[in-house]
Amino acid sequence: MRQEESEAIVLHHLDYNDADRIVSFFSLEQGLLKGFAHNARKSRKRFGSALELFAYVHLRWSGKASGDLVSLQDAELIDLHSGVRRDVGALALASYGCELVEALTAEAQSCPEIFHLLRAFLGHLSKAGLSLEARLLFELRLFSQLGYAPHFLHCSACNFPLDGDEVAFSANGGGGLCLECAPAALPLRVSPMTLGTLGRCLQAPVTLFEGFRFSERTLQEAGGVLQDILRQHLVRPLKSQSFMEQMLAGKARVKAIR
């Protein structure tokens, strides 16, 4: 059986039998994979703490063990992202990011950009905790890497530049729409500046999370736009979403009181 190895990030794990563990991970070389870690919970010799959630590791495995699972050989920890353990808000957003990657990427398809994005995202959360900006940048970049990025700067129907006070947005209709092209019933209305900001954010390196500040309005509108895109591609709701939104709402309340 062929031996493989790659840097990887642990997205999720499930306990199996008494001592085994099934691990979903996103690898630099082969994208999303699921592996079987025999005896991982009882013996710490081969995996140590490297199969913890969100861990950035160097993994070795061999071919498909059974069904869709590769057989994990051993793992070496590179970064535990331990700041996420000290902050439940960061935990919430990190979980959401990992669940999103697992839900939207196809198995065994290499996408180094998504790996670097996820790694930088977890590193940022571990240091800086959760923020609406981090969520927004992560979603936007992930969608763009997956080829879901819509038209932000031009009307998706008539191709005219989007300007004025208000435009419509429909992920289903291809993105931003000028008011002449948008059906009257389309509920999502945003400022063209918000779409412009989203478009500009895509120019920045995927690993850069520091130094972004958006206005309250941009955050709110961009959140609606990204959720609209997400709804197009998600088969079932994410388990971590409502918890994360509670945490973000709690943080917004604290900010408002101060």
Binding site: H12, N17, D18, R44, K45, G48, S49, A50, E52, L53, F54, L77, L80, S82, V84, R85, R86, D87, V88, L91, A92, S95, Y96, C98, E99, K239, S240, S242, F243, M244, Q246
Partner: protein, 203 residues
């Protein structure tokens, strides 16, 4: 071997036993055959024991441990110190702390840890009940004994943030090298924590 198609009651027993943790189909079949060989009296008392434990056991309304009388013995024992409260994830964790004979205070069981990936938030755990207990009670120190997984640690930090404003001291289980183990075989993250949490040797 019995053919399950012509022995539906036997296959039902194998199926039910197979739901137990760590029991595969092979072991379940072996256990079912053992029960079949037992006297009716033995088999009946096993069934009665299962029924009785389910009927009589519930959660203690104070600490949420399993009990047959509410409040439980741990909550009513006058010899235990009500100024110390140990918070654990699961009933089996309480048993582990008790077995260590190191803690003589009282307990609170959360019945899980915060876990966004499993859709478990604060409302799914006995956190509101813990806070009410702390606001009413005489507790001076809370020992957070949740697991050292990502979820357990984040839960401990979350609880610490809620408890500290009440003026109650919050402590956490120490984390480090297992007793009796060689440093050589301990993983990097654990050694890292052990170095961070090092203690000065005093006379």
């Amino acid at each position: 071997m019995l053919d399950w198609k012509i022995h539906p009651s036997f296959s039902r027993l194998v199926f039910e036993l197979g739901k137990l943790p760590g029991i595969g189909k092979k072991t379940a079949t072996r256990l079912a055959l053992f029960i079949l060989r037992q006297s009716s009296g033995d088999a009946e008392s096993l069934a009665a024991a299962i029924r009785e434990v389910k009927e009589r056991t519930r959660f203690c309304s104070i600490c949420f441990h399993y009990t047959e009388q509410d409040p439980c013995q741990l909550c009513t024992d006058p010899a235990r110190d009500s100024e110390y409260l140990c918070v654990v994830q699961e009933p089996q964790d309480l048993l582990v702390v008790e077995r260590s004979r190191s803690f003589r205070g009282r307990y609170h069981i959360l019945h899980g840890a915060l876990s966004p990936l499993d859709g478990i938030g604060p409302e799914q755990l006995k956190i509101a009940e813990l806070m009410i207990r702390l606001e009413q009670g005489s507790v001076r120190e809370v020992l957070l004994a949740t697991n050292f997984s990502v979820e357990g640690e984040a839960t401990a930090h979350y609880l610490a943030g809620l408890i500290r404003p009440l003026g109650i001291r919050v402590s956490r289980l120490a984390h480090g090298i297992p007793l009796g183990s060689d440093l050589e075989y301990v993983d990097e993250a654990t050694v890292n924590r052990a170095v961070e949490g090092r203690q000065f040797l005093t006379e």
